[in-house]
Symmetry: C2
Subunit: 352 residues, 2 copies
């Protein structure tokens, strides 16, 4: 089969790889219908995270189950499934606590499972999925989703669940004012998640017309282009003299976190999901004196998939709109370039 | 009148000071019945915070209203009141949000009010209280509390509300396992708050028999004497292989915060109320990878006073037990010494 590998900075290649086969009795094989490039894939792409040797890449995909290990109980061959970005067993204490990202038996897409056996990356034609029961979520009544539905299902693999995680971390609720820092796919899904959770005043931070337009379509009531201290001044002005109740930090840089903290009112809540890069640490004196609560981290999208899937299938949310570009698998290098140069919000790689 | 001043490190004196008088129409004058020394008073006492010139000190007191400004609406002369450690107006946006510590018109006990007028410290015979309506809480049906009730009312001024704030920050709830780091009066009140909020498994960290005994009386089911990484191992063992759902950090040092983070399970919550000292910042990568939420800071005890007061008056909680020593005002220097040397958990200064 064909699959994507990263060889080093800005060196993405689609190559021939062995077809995956069942290696344990809790595995599934999934024929990938669509995959995508994550903002976090750009860290090694940009050379910020090292790539000591070529490796398979990608951790967001949807597709059809083609084979199952003998102990898999909740899936059947032919099921159309969403794979969350983090593999999880579903039964260990963290999984039972809804923190699947801390699964004690987690396998790494494009890496290895707990037995040291290789696991495929998501950007390829097929994937061996360890811990199939705890990981994959079947989409009821759907076997061949159209492109629009495919996009939304694929968004549930990571960005929509991650935006939802940020909104929960920021304690978004009806009546609370919301600021979203970051206009990538996660930030935009954060806007949609905030709207879904009942926020009526949502301020998106963006300097890009296309992203700002999608933020508004997702529920943003205001768009702010200022940054840093100026952004906080603008937020205070928009909210009638106070800062925001809930702030979503969806970037991960020190600048974004600083901006998010500046926009949060005393006693407010900050949800953060941007993978921390270049941050020394959260300024505890600021948190203490402003009584700002902080919650977030890597999102257990597996935990949120059932309820978000229900809303997608009911047509209540359409997170797939973040995919403004569709390419084939062989165009993966181009997809990375488009994401890196911010010419695309998010690229769907359509297979088959 | 007589009142306490700090002149410098380990130099506490009780001196003659002018009797307070009403200076604005929103003031009250309170004749102090009891006051106490706060753990945070020990920072300047130990010379860790500078004392450039002698100043009045103390921010926890209870007493009787003896005079009122013309605009005070919720109090009457003769009311027995609890003064929260933080003065607040009760009407600005932070106060309306229940974050009175961020009050935009806050006056500082022993410092100045927003008009630059001097405010008495709490460790003295009487106090001018700016923002009387927003600050003082009358105790219904009580005019001369006995010593036991006085202790519990005085605890509501700061330590009990602060322990409650830590427990809320740590999302304590029925069924959640709790660890409390710190066996000072705040930590002990954190144990009591956790018990009050329904926790059934509460692990207190202490190496002092008297404090451990009080922790058990307040609801601790286990006492751990280990520190740092060893403490986390012990907690995991006590909880059957997992770390704690909720951890209260009630010290403020880097070591205590590190220990608290080590004891928190993935997806767990850390409530922190220890005034940060010597901490560079919260390790955001740990928070991100473990999905630990952090909430706390200076407690708005004014917000919690009504519900906690109700429980004190109903005999449901007895936070006054943290006062293991009672002295007179003239013994304030000795009270500081007893607190500093940890010979006393908390000293009540009884006046009149």
């Amino acid at each position: 089969m064909r699959a994507t590998l990263i060889h080093g900075p800005r060196d993405i290649r689609v190559e021939d790889c062995p077809d995956p086969v069942l290696l344990t009795d809790t595995d599934a094989i999934v024929k990938v219908a669509a995959a995508c490039v994550c903002g976090s894939d750009l860290w090694p792409y940009r050379g910020i995270n090292p790539t000591p040797e070529p490796r398979r890449i990608g951790h967001e995909f949807i597709g059809t189950v083609t084979a199952l290990g003998s102990k898999v109980a909740t899936l059947k061959v032919g099921d159309f499934v969403v794979a969350p970005w983090a593999n999880s067993c579903g039964t260990c204490p963290p999984c039972r606590n809804g923190v699947q990202v801390a699964c004690e038996h987690r396998a790494a897409w494009g890496g290895n499972d707990e037995n040291g056996l290789p696991v495929d990356g998501g950007q390829g034609e097929a994937v061996r999925v360890p811990n199939a029961d705890g990981t994959l979520v079947p989409v009821p009544g759907v076997s061949e989703p159209d492109e629009s539905l495919s996009k939304s299902l694929l968004a549930l693999s990571d960005v929509m669940g991650t935006g939802h995680h940020a909104a929960l971390g920021a304690r978004v609720a009806p009546g609370r004012s919301v600021v979203v820092v970051g206009d990538g796919a996660v930030g935009l899904c954060g806007v949609l998640a905030a709207k879904r959770l009942g926020a009526t005043r949502i301020i998106a931070m963006s300097r890009h017309a296309d992203r700002a337009a999608l933020a508004r379509e997702f529920g943003a009531t205001d768009v702010v282009s200022e940054r840093g201290a100026e952004a906080a001044v603008k937020v205070r002005e928009l909210l009638g003299g106070v800062l925001a109740d809930s702030v979503l930090e969806c970037v991960g840089t020190a600048e974004a976190m600083d901006q998010a903290l500046r926009c949060t009112r005393p006693g407010g809540s900050l949800g953060f999901v941007g993978v921390p890069h270049g941050q020394d640490g959260l300024p505890i004196s600021v948190l203490f004196s402003k009584n700002i609560s902080v919650a977030g981290g890597a999102a257990s999208t597996r935990a949120y998939l059932p309820e978000l899937l229900e809303d997608v299938l009911a047509g209540l949310i359409n997170p797939g709109l973040v995919f403004d570009t569709v390419m084939g698998l062989e165009q993966a290098p181009e997809a990375y370039r488009a994401m890196d140069e911010r010419n695309s919000i998010k690229v769907m790689l359509k297979l088959g």
